[in-house]
Structures are given as C-alpha cells and as structure tokens.
Amino acid sequence: MSALELLAPAGSTLERAAASVAGALTVREGPLRRMRLRFYDTFDGRLRAAGLTLCHEQDDPAAGGGRLALLARDGGELLSAISAPPLPEPALALELPEGELRRRLLEVVDVRALLALAALDARELALAALDARQKTIARGRLLEPGSNGDGELRVPVRLVLRSLRGFEEELEAIGPRLLQRGFAPARRPLVDELVLAGGGSPAGTSSKVAVKLIPTQRSDAAAVAVLRRLAEVMDANLDGAAEAIDAEFLHDFRVALRRTRSVLKQLADVFPPAERERFRVALRDLQRATAQARDLDVYVLEFDAMVALVPERWRADLRPLRELLARRRELAHRACDRELRSERTVALRREWGELLEALVGLAGEDRPGAERPIGELAGERIARVYRRMVKRGRAIGPGTPAAEYHELRKQGKELRYLLELFGRPLYDRRLVRSLVVCLKDLQDVLGRHQDREVQVGMLRSLAPELARAPGGPQALMATGVLIEALCEDEARAREQFRGAFEDFAAKGMRRAVREAFC
C-alpha cells in the first residue's frame, strides 16, 4: 500500500480543498465529522522513533468515549485500535485492556509513560478516490485543524490518501494532478506539525550523551562539554523523576548523575581541588538520597520476574510482599521528590552550572590536567582503569568475599562511562565497541551477583513488617523460598564470572588497549 500526504493551498478551508480535490479526481465524499484528536508518545519519543503514531479520536468530548488508534507514522495506515476514552495523564501501556494494541505498545514503550503531545479540534471529510470504472483506488480524508485550546492553529488543511492493495500505481498517478491544483507535499506528519506549533520537539527529549570531541582539545573544555550535556539530561528528567511519572525519569537522572561523578573523579586534575571535593560530596549525597526510590522501582517492576523463581503453588502467598514493596516505594518517592526540589538541590544545580561556565577560564596552577589534550588524558584514564580491573579480577576466586566483586563492578562502571563519553568520540570505534561488549558481559554477571545479594538483604530486612501483615506467615515462608532461589542465582553468577572475565582480560584485548589508549 502507498500513501499520499499533501497540504492544501495556504488559506484553504475544508470546503475549498474538497472542491480542488474534486476538480482533480473522481471522488466520493463520506460524512463530515467534527472531532477532537489527541496525540501521545513517551518523553523520549519512542513511538516516533519506531515509526508509529498513537492518536485518540473523539466525536463528542462531552459524551466521553472515542477510539485509541495506533497508526503507521508514514501514510497513517491503521495498525490497531480499541474503543477507549482519552488516556489519563500520564498513562501506562500496561494499564490498557489486554489485546493487540497493548501488546504492540508495550513492545516499543515498555515502562515509559504515554504523555499527551498535542490536542486538536478538527473537521474531517472522508474521501474515496475512484477510477474510470468507479472502483475505489484509495481512501483517506481531508482534515482541517481548528483550535488546540490555546487558539487557532496556523496549520494547513491536510489531504491523506492511502491506496487500496494493488492500486499503488494509480495513486501515484494522482499526485501530479493534485500538485497542479496547488497542493504541496507534506514534509512532516500532522503530529509533528502540532508539536512544533506548540514549541516542542517532535523527536522528544533524548537522554543520550554523544558529545563531539577533538583529541587536541583542552581536557577542561572537553570535560565541560560532556558535563554540560549531562547537566541538561539531569535537568530534563528532574521534574519527571520528582513526580514519578515513570521509572525511567529517575533512572536517566541517576545515570547522568553517576556519569557526572565519574567524570569528576576520572578527570580530577582539570578541576580546582576544593571545588572538586565540594561537588564530589554534594553529588554523592544526591545520588544516595535518590537511591532507595530507584531500588524500589526496580523491585516493583521486576517483581514478577523475581517471583517466577518460586514454585507456582506458592507465588500467590507473595502478594503481601508486593503490597509492602509498593508502599515502601510510594514513601521513597515522596522523600525523593522532596530532595529533588529542595533548596539544597536547587543550589547545587545552580552552582555546578556556574563552575562549568567558569572552569576553562580559571587559573591552571592547581589544575595540572586542564590544558592537556583530551586525547592523551582520556586514553591514560581508560588504560589505567582497565589495568586495575584486570589486576583485581585476577585476584578474585570462588571464595572471595562479595565486596571484592562489588568493587570490580564499580570500576567496571567507571570504565564503561569513560568509554562511552570519551572513548567513542576520540578513539577507534571498533575497538571501543568490542571492549564495551566484553565489559557489558562481565558487568551483567557482576550485576546479577550484586543485585541478588542486595535483594536478599532487602527481603530479610522486610521480614518483621511482612510478618505483621495479613497473610504474613505464608508470605514469610514463600519469601524464604525466594531467598534460597536468589542465593542459588548469585552462586551461578559467581560460576559464570571466570569465563566473562577471561574474555575481558584476554591477551589480545590487553594488547589492543595498550596500543590504542597508551
């Protein structure tokens, strides 16, 4: 199937546009509708990136109801739809009725909330384009945007026609006839036009950090460029994290925060010592203050996966545990919200921004690394962290305390951030990619090992409160079975450590790191 999406000549009303279309082709007009349209996507534009548009159509807002439809972004082909009222703000795909629409959305958006991008009152005229045999070759509509609630929109009348199967060539032949009547190809789908008209960004807000760096650049300037982008990511995600719109806001905020702390540590020599220490402590405290909310997000989101470790006949007994975790999560998020909006955090963000603004211009005596080329300094740090990981990992055996595995994991995170923030822009991409892949495999094993240990500790800490809950005794027994399963998984992760580490520390990798980064 092919599609045509055109804009009517400037200033056209629906009626004038319809007359123009009828002058160019044989059409059958359908009913004229007044409707309210609402468009949704995640904060980071996942549906758009996947070539999809989620739209709610409603004929009579007073009556409620309507249709929620998932469409192909190009051409607007209907992929799936359900009868439903407009989505609440925010909405989770998991809360939609089970069915194909929900399944398709979950594949793309996962746990991210669906947010309203734009709303529009419009008039729509359904159309069918016919050939000489009066056969329908394409169906579509003329859409006249009206108001978006903030006033009249300067968005032209839009014609969309989608061919019936087997009539693609016939539809293509129609295009030039319409262009001769003053129609112009639509450069963007309607939803993008509406978002732009509202001052937004159609692609959403990305938390990706991909800063271009030059190897000869001063290290302090390079650090500032990266840290500024990380600060932007934190700012963009702060409100969503504070309001707990979805779990990804806090996650992205904390990842950006952790990366910031890592740059501060790994490129310590570009910062004045006093400032470095001050912000090291302040950023660490912010990380700690938001940790519990994130941990509980993960427990709640992954609860079903965790419960799957318990024999089926006991899983229902764990309901009190789920409820307890949900309550704790609620409390943790309230505390997190207070912290994120506190005077202390506001001041921290402001002062951090001021430091970044001023850094490159500061005197360099106490910043020995400031003027060094970033291509040198970053390479040094990458190689050094890698070597330390190899040394630490070699010393780890089956009987090594868990704390050593955790330290190795922390070093792994430092290395990962260095590679992502500085390795990718400055060094051989293939080497960086293969090192990241080995590191990721190792981190996955170490992460599982640590997560299971932490989960066991957390479950044990909940035991007194769980015992007092309705159904507590059964829940405790089932939790005991769960703890045993988690311990077994932790042990399995230990067994897998050696293989993952050997790939990471292989002779060829060590040589490649030496050659590329030293």
């Binding site: 009066q134 056969k135 329908t136 019936l164 199967r165 087997g166």
Partner: protein, 256 residues
C-alpha cells in the same frame, strides 16, 4: 490456514459467480480476511468488483511461479475482501498446467504464499471438465455446486459426484445447493425433492431463489446484500453461508 472453497459446475449460467461473490462478501463482512480468485477467463467476478481483468505477466507466468500471486492481488471496495483477478489468458490455463509433472498440484503452489493471509479463499471456476477442474478438486477443501432444479442439471450433478469420487482427490467435500429456484414451478419442487432423497449428505438446506436482485448484480456491480439487504436473495445467501460453515466445521480438513 485458509479454507479453500470452489464454486464449481460443469454447466454454465447456474449461479457460480453470484455464489462466489456473495459468499466471499459475507465472509469478509463477518471479519474473515477473504480472497476470491476469478479463474474464469470471462472474468465475471472481476467485472462485478470493478477491477480490470488483467494479470501482469499473464496466467502462464503465474503458474510457472515466475510471478508472485501476492503482487497481483487487488483489494476490492469491501474491507477484508481481496481479488486475484481474471485474465483472458486463463483460456489457455489447461495447456499451461499440462506442461508440469504434477499439473493438478500447480494451483495450490500458486496459492501457497497467500494461504496464511486469508481465512477463506474462494475459487470462481469456469464451467468445464478439464485439467483446471481437476486442479480445483485437488486444491479445494470443498466444492460449492449450484444446481438449477431441472432434469438435466440433476443429471450433471450425478456425473460430477461420480467424477469426484473416482478422482485421487476424493476427500474434497461436495456441497451442492439449489440455485435460481422458482418454487412456483412444480418441476423445480419435484427435482428438489428427488435430489434431496438421492443425495442427502451432499445437498445443503439453503436454496438461492431466482430473484431480481441477483440479476441486477451485473448492473449495480455490488453484492446482493448491498442491493436489497433484507431481500429473499440476501437472506438466502446468509443461510447458505451459515450452512457451508457448519459443514466445514464438521468435516476434517482435506490434506493438501
């Protein structure tokens, strides 16, 4: 996997195309993705759907599998109802099929890429006794055989029943129904009663009346249900479709 239903009779003008078009319409209306393959070089079904009776590359290329049937399907004006159009070259289809080692398997090979996309595939067959018909017997789950309740038609049906029973594809269900029935005619009533007694399993209960709206399909080029939704013919096709589905559900699928 699709159910393949072929409207077939050796005699022409008995209501095969009307049945194929109206039953396919009902199947699609009820939510089943449906394909109608117009195998008749006359292209009556194709005409009714207002589609050009032309296959890019012709039928020879299609049966040689040098054309992909998926690229040749056209969507009708009815949602979920698609057409594989007729082409004048179908008049040589026997010759084209005869060039293959297992000619009666060829139509199924053509259909195979499409079978996963449709719940029902209707084959509107030309009135003939030929390699094309044998291929249809080998491909279809059921033959839908319209019979005008007159003496010669009854004889033709008996011949057809014997032919199908003799063939290697004797597992295809034969579902006959009376077509162009005029209950005012005593001959029609007598022949109906006799055939029902002789072929109790093969004859469906529903019967299509000789009705003005069926004849008007050629003028309006729409299904009967759109011409006269509550009329005798529309109701008869609804009953026929119900009957066909019931019989299909009760029978094991013909192995292909």
């Amino acid at each position: 996997m699709s159910r393949v239903l072929a409207t077939y009779n050796i005699k022409g003008g008995v209501g095969k195309t009307s049945a194929a078009v109206n039953l396919a319409y009902l199947a699609a209306r009820d939510g089943s993705p449906t394909l109608l393959w117009d195998l008749d070089p006359q292209g009556a079904a194709t005409y009714l759907f207002r589609i050009k009776p032309r296959l890019r590359g012709g039928s020879k290329k299609l049966v040689e599998l040098r054309s992909d049937a998926r690229d040749l399907v056209k969507e009708t004006d009815y949602r979920r109802l698609h057409l594989l159009p007729a082409d004048l070259s179908y008049r040589h289809l026997d010759l084209a099929l005869d060039s293959f080692k297992r000619p009666t398997r060829r139509l199924l090979r053509v259909l195979e890429p499409l079978l996963g996309d449709y719940e029902y595939v209707f084959l509107d067959c030309p009135p003939s006794l030929s390699l094309v018909s044998e291929s249809v017997f080998a491909t279809a789950d059921a033959l839908l055989v319209p019979i005008i309740p007159a003496t010669l038609s009854a004889r033709t049906f008996s011949q057809l029943s014997d032919l199908v029973a003799q063939g290697r594809r004797s597992r295809v269900q034969v579902l006959a129904f009376f077509s162009m029935l005029d209950v005012r005619k005593s001959l029609h009533r007598e022949v109906m009663a006799r055939l029902r007694a002789e072929h109790p399993d093969a004859l469906l209960g529903a019967a299509i009346p000789a009705a003005d709206e069926v004849e008007r399909m050629g003028e309006s080029r729409t299904a009967v249900a759109e011409i006269a939704p509550g009329g005798r013919a529309a109701l008869a096709y609804e009953a026929l479709w119900w009957d066909v589905r019931r019989r299909l559900a009760a029978a094991p699928r013909a192995g292909r």
